[in-house]
Amino acid sequence: MSQEQPTLIGARVPKLDAPLKATGSATYGHDVRLPGMLHGRILYSEYPHARVLRVDTARAQALPGVKCVLTAADAPDTRFGYGRDNVPFKNQVVRSLRDEVAGVVAVDPETAEEALRLIEVEYEPLTPVFSPEEALAEGTPLLHPDRGSNLFQTYHYEHGDPQAGERESDVLLEAEYQLPYVSHACLETSVVVAHFDPHGRLTLWSTTQIPFLLQRDLAEALGMDGSQIRIIQTAIGGAFGRGLDIYPFEPIAALMARKAGRPVRLAFTRAEDSIAAPARQPARVRVRAGARRDGRLTFRDVSAVLDIGPYVSWGAVTPLVMMETTASLYKVPHVRFHTDCVYTNNPVTGAMRGYGNPQSTFFIETMMDRLAEAVGMDPVEFRLLNANEPDTVTPQGLVITSCGLKECLQAVAARADRAAGESAAGWGQGTPVSPARDPFHGAPPSRRRRGIGFAATLNVGGGARIYRSDGCGATVKVDDFGHVTLVTGATEIGQGSETVLAQIVAETLGVSLDDVSVENSDTDVKPWDVGVHASRTTFIAGNAACIAARQARDQIFETAAEMLEVKPEELIARQGKVMVRDDPERSIPISKAVRRRHFRQGGRIVIGEGWYDPPTRLVDKATYKGNISAAYGFGAQMAEVEVDLDTGIVRVLRLVCANDVGRAINPMAVEGQIEGGAQMGLGYALTEELLVQEGRVLNPTFADYRLFTAADMPRIETIIVETDDPGGPFGAKGVGEMGGTPTAAAIANAIYDAVGLRLTTLPMTPERVLAALDTHQPKDGE
């Protein structure tokens, strides 16, 4: 191996925190115990829409063990959140069944719970609004009268001339889609611990994904200065976007701690997490799209309505991502995209992994399949013909650098068992299952059909500028034992970012991974970062860590050059040593060079700093055009399914996932993101739906909200496509969200291949499949 060849980049390194987690030694929010800590519980509204006339806390206050009871009177009169439409406790009007009316602090959670039942609240019910259509109708009560409308925001985007696109089309198709509420379903329920020190400074132990933005948001909600708030991130038991905003329970915990004068922990129950934590927005989407007879796409026209619930989070920005897939996945000359985000008295919604992309990839990629069939082309050939290419700029202004979309499509197609179903030639005929291949009990093989389906995806992979900064800071310190400490603004949510960042730093400094530790959990210690979202950490925090590590290396080289009597440019760092490039026998340990800097007059420490904010810009406010990411990731999936004609059950037999990740710094972690994303995508496709009736969540437990289990999961076959992105650290791009974005579309397309049904409502449950089969029954097996 040459001296220059990276050794840790591309290595299947176990996560640094894995031994801690395997032994149960990691400290999660639920595990934080502080001396004198009390427990808070929240009283939620009994009505989806009502005026709060009176809150009487006297009986609760009198219960032994209760330390204090809080109402809106205990909170400052300021609003917070993305839409500046939320307050900790609702003092006049409740707008959903998850609205906070009061809170109790007690010696234990049970006492606090008992006290909640003693709080008397008098409501005057108001007319509730349960659908966006209703919300926008004339004469409907306004959720926020001061806003003048239940329409929070409209996104309107166009490129080309959609009407001309229609005229150019030889085939023109139309469909309507209905997309469900989805729960993040993090295994760890929402939790926060708040404590004010005697100087009045607040420390919050939190599972947030945005520690620095939360500092600011909390300061606003509490009427404090941001400098008086310190956020410590515990080990985080699942995030997936749940922690991407401020939510009322966070300022409430702080208010509780302030009033009680002691640390307070506020932990949600599972049902509470399903009801009071955000869900992915449901959407109704109308799609029209066309193509020429030769297979080239002509236009897309998408109109969507999102039910955002009673308060706005950053989740209301998800149309930006739906827009990106609509406008820029494949080459489409003419596009129109229109989305209304509407207030209702339904559950609160927020950002969730993929941020609009699972939704849009579902409708765009099922529509692609229909177009392929309409023009008589193989679905893969049709996609390859229209695929994005490297070094191009889309009409939306996305600057595509590396692009492995075609490679991904070809890779999954090569693994497809075309005999499993029929592609272009025999759409919708399916293949009866041969008894020899039948791994399942159930209906006789003659009553089951197999099919295969494809879908691709485009996702930001080089950050996403949705805030004015998309930056991240890092410092790298090297001590006189040669130990390296990376302090990064980035947040570890289980995805393995701290391990990947440590690999980048170790590689740059030529030390082993054992010599690197990562500090990433305390706003008093770590430099600023926007947060963990948009698959951005490897690219953005990776570049920042790389810059800091290079600076530290330069400082070491400066001293080592004196000691070795060469120029710094002649040095390289390998195996914990600084070596002369052309004469590696001449070397000194890094630790010795660092000591030389410490043990002399006028010495210096070794500390490198890095700040990386990618060369991107916010989208134009009027046109929504602009390059928001410094790189784009691509992927494709092939699903093979079996549909049981008697039960409507869809089994996924194989799911093959290919992803262009630029370069896999840690292939095992990349696979982990893809496999876990695919599991979420499978749930989105087939099982997961938060059922909401008249504003009430009907299935807030894991018994009723069905996640895929180890027994249900098909084997996920992953293929890593490397395109070496010019802007990424060691060529890497982000991969955090792409694993699940095309899954529902690939499965829907496979179901069509099997039984000739185009399902447009998710999830594709047995009930929905059976109902569709009732109107379209394929003939029995041959």
Binding site: I236, A239, R270, G672, A710
Partner: protein, 155 residues
């Protein structure tokens, strides 16, 4: 109402004076400070709180502590093999079967129970044994591989 019980946890014996409504999970976490056993659903649906009660896996959120008088309990903290990790833990680390890690201790205990009963389980048996342990991060594939690897090493 309160009651005295005797419980052996990870080899240490405890005499506990408990509210009869306390679950085993409560006692492990709040009386004994064993935070490795995680609370997630509190209803037996997710498996995050799985421990071995007299060698059998149970969701400790569904077990009343007073019903365990005289019992032996093994939690994730009691698994150490010499100065290293238990083969199941080691395999989970090495295969990448851990992401957020919240489900991990419960997953480990279910796997340990399975391997205690069956030295070389088939993939289907592993999947069935872990079906009560939900994981939101990994897609289970690497966890299943880890159990296979641990089974291979145990024989």
């Amino acid at each position: 109402m309160k009651q005295v019980i005797h419980l052996t946890v990870n080899g240490d014996s405890h005499e506990l004076y408990l509210d009869t409504r306390r679950t085993l999970l409560d006692v492990l976490r709040n009386e004994l400070g064993l935070m490795g056993t995680h609370r997630s659903c509190d209803a037996g649906d997710c498996g995050a709180c799985t421990v071995l009660l007299n060698d059998l896996p149970v969701t400790s959120c569904l077990v009343l502590a007073v019903a365990c008088d005289g019992a032996q309990v093994l939690t994730v903290e009691g698994l150490r093999c010499g100065d290293g990790l238990h083969p199941v833990q080691q395999a989970l680390v090495e295969t990448g079967g851990i992401q957020c890690g919240f489900c991990t201790p419960g997953m480990v205990m279910s796997a340990v129970a399975l391997l205690g009963e069956k030295r070389r389980p088939s993939e289907a048996e592993i999947r069935a044994a872990l079906a009560g342990n939900l994981c939101r991060c990994t897609g289970y594939g690497k966890i299943i591989q880890a159990v296979q690897r641990a089974a291979g090493e145990a024989t």
